[in-house]
Amino acid sequence: MADLTKVVDAVYKGRLKEIQGLVQEALDTGAEPNTILDEALVKGMDVVTQKWKEGQVFVPEVLRSAKTMQSGMDILKPFLVKGSGEAKGVFAIGTVKGDLHDIGKNLVAMLLESVGYKVINLGIDLDPSVFVEQVEKGVKYLGISALLTTTIPQMKVIIDSLEEAGLRSKCKVWVGGAPVTQEYAEEIGADFYAVDAAHCIDQLNSLR
């Protein structure tokens, strides 16, 4: 029986150079591809994200683990049952008009990808119509970021635009960024206020 703990450990520790060899080894010793995915790669990521939430792991370590997992997936993909290993959902995220801040928003994007969501990173300084278009195209999860007190009113404009387009009920809206608060999120009718990426992940997972 293949020893999957090595794969779990390699994902957890972000051993990028070793992961493909270990996944291949697991396949060669008879482990089921879907077992390797769920019991090793995904499990490794779960360990990392849990420890990150507890404050023991640094964000660059989470990202390295995610990259390691993806590298393992490249070996595994041809053998997986169709449909498994696909994205948990699609999340579109962007920074509002007039605001050029993107590091926090990009971080949320990277971390959501690392735990299995497909992320459409829309960019910065975005017209409300860009967000509306995404929902028109079928995106169900929408993240809006702003870092300036002078630009957060744009969040309400976007939510109002979704209402006007009759799309508000078709999506869940997250708001985040330094000046945003839970009270503000409620006031403008957002579904979620995510104080950081970890909260965003928990909130998203709770919907599934």
Partner: protein, 485 residues
């Protein structure tokens, strides 16, 4: 109210984290970043200015490669020291440059801990007025950076009212960030009215501006416009860069310092190209990132290290330096708020930072200000200033004569020598409690926070800075529909 003294401008430079050889290595890295990696100048007018000076550019990526020659010319063009004036009280003018150390507040917090309830709430124009008044009173605040944002005003009214609220309630130099070009022009015009004319304001600037460079290595459209508008005004300008370790700048202190210097110097170059001779403060707001949460860590010890290194680099270039220290990431005025502020203020002060902002009042990643913390930090700064004052050694201070007259087994309490030196040799705390326990208990067992709160209330009630002449205020009111005070 406690006794006030004037101790800004003492020499720092005792703490030097970089050796001379390190400074030269950082300088070489700065040259490489500016001339080989390049600075993105998204602002079209700024880009063209660099191009017109023969700088190599990349049109598509909007990159400007700033040559060592242009950098040196621009550093030479900028004054190596400048006087930041104080309205209403020339004794509060500060000479910024060399290794002379001054401390002041920083901006711009969006919230404040309410003086009555202790709860966090949005700051208002009234808070700008009150904090300014408090800063005018606190003797170790040598200047003011406009501390909080007036959330009760729409954006078009912010610049002019924020500056006036600060200016009218303090007789110390006021520096502030700006939000709109129109607002910036209104501020310059309003202050020209207060000074008597634009020329008088330029000659004795009691206000100055802050416009940021975006890390890593970018002068963006909005701040580029604001930077050029401020440079055109001829008033002094701080151009801070804020690479955060491992996020918007390298994780290593040396790399972070090289990046931040390249960024602020790129801004300095642009200001000189717009208006040769513009007084610019080489400026650092850099600190570390807590990579567990990706929080900006405003109270980290590395902030002290980075800002001390940057002060050394400014001294190397012969430029006045705006640094950062003194904040805390605590949410309340507690032990963390005290020790984080104390360590960074001491480090950057001892490095000889000229214009150390954020030194008082800020909590929670600079998002929240606290009236009580301004008072507590003023006391910390008093102790830092005492350190800078150093130890004077001569026959009088060695005190062999008085020791001889007291002799073995005597005491020094009644000696003239004691009487003459006791107030100037020692820092006299006003917040720290040194009462016997029984007296402290009788007085209500007050902690630091409560003692600070009482001082704040006293100052806000009794301290009266010299306001702007009422006739001039009337004229300002008549001229600007946005003016609400």
């Amino acid at each position: 109210m406690f006794k006030r003294g004037k101790l800004g401008g003492l020499d720092g430079g005792q703490y030097r984290p970089l050796t001379d050889s390190d400074v030269r290595k950082v300088h070489q890295a700065i040259i490489r970043i500016m001339s080989e990696i390049g600075i993105k100048v998204a602002n079209r007018k700024g880009f063209e200015l660099f191009k017109s000076k023969g700088m190599k550019t990349d049109e598509e990526k909007k990159l400007v490669f700033i040559s060592q020659g242009l950098l040196e010319d621009c550093i030479d063009a900028a004054p190596s020291e400048l006087i930041l004036h104080a309205r209403g009280n020339p004794d509060n003018n500060i000479v910024v440059g060399g290794k002379r150390v001054h401390f002041g507040s920083g901006g711009t917090a969006l919230n404040i801990l309410d003086l009555e309830t202790g709860e966090k709430r949005h700051s208002t124009l009234e808070d700008v007025q009150n904090v300014s008044k408090l800063l005018d009173y606190l003797d170790n605040a040598h200047f003011q950076v406009i501390p909080v944002y007036p959330n009760d005003l729409p954006i078009e009214k912010v610049d002019i009212n924020r500056f006036f609220a600060a200016i009218n309630n303090t007789n110390k130099h006021c520096q502030g960030g700006v939000y709109t070009i129109k607002g910036t022009k209104e501020v310059v015009d309003m202050c020209s009215m207060i000074a008597g004319s634009r020329e008088k304001l330029q000659k004795e600037p009691f206000i100055s501006f802050i416009t940021c460079v975006i890390s890593p290595l970018e002068i963006d459209q909005t701040y580029g416009d604001l930077l050029m508008t401020c440079a055109e005004s001829g008033l002094p300008l701080s151009i801070p860069a804020e690479p955060l370790t491992g996020a918007t700048g390298p994780i290593t202190i040396a790399g972070n310092v090289a990046n931040l210097c390249a960024e602020t110097l790129a801004g300095l170059c642009l200001a000189q190209l717009v208006n040769c001779g513009t007084p610019v403060l080489m400026a650092c707001t850099s600190t570390s990132t807590d990579l567990r949460t990706m929080s900006y860590a405003s109270g980290s010890v590395e902030e002290g290290l980075i800002n001390a290194c940057a002060a050394q680099m400014a001294q190397f270039y012969g430029l006045p330096y705006y640094g950062t220290a003194g904040q805390s990431d605590s949410k309340i005025v507690d032990a963390q708020a005290g020790f984080e502020g104390a360590i960074t203020n001491l480090l950057v002060g001892m490095a000889g930072g000229n214009f150390i902002h954020d030194a008082l009042g800020l909590l929670e990643f600079c998002l929240t200000a606290s009236y009580e913390k301004y008072v507590m930090d003023n006391e910390i700064l008093g102790e830092v200033v005492r350190v800078l004052k150093g130890v004077e050694v001569n026959d009088e201070t060695l005190a062999v004569d008085v020791t001889a007259s007291v002799g073995p087994g005597g005491n020094f309490i009644q000696e003239d020598h004691t009487f003459e030196h006791m107030r100037n040799e020692h820092f006299v705390p006003t917040v720290a409690d040194r009462q016997p326990r029984v007296n402290w208990e009788k007085a209500g067992r007050k902690d630091t926070y409560t003692r600070c709160k009482e001082i704040v209330r006293d100052v806000l009630q009794n301290h009266k800075p010299i306001p702007v002449n009422e006739e001039i205020v009337k004229a300002i009111r008549a001229k600007y529909p946005n003016f609400v005070q």
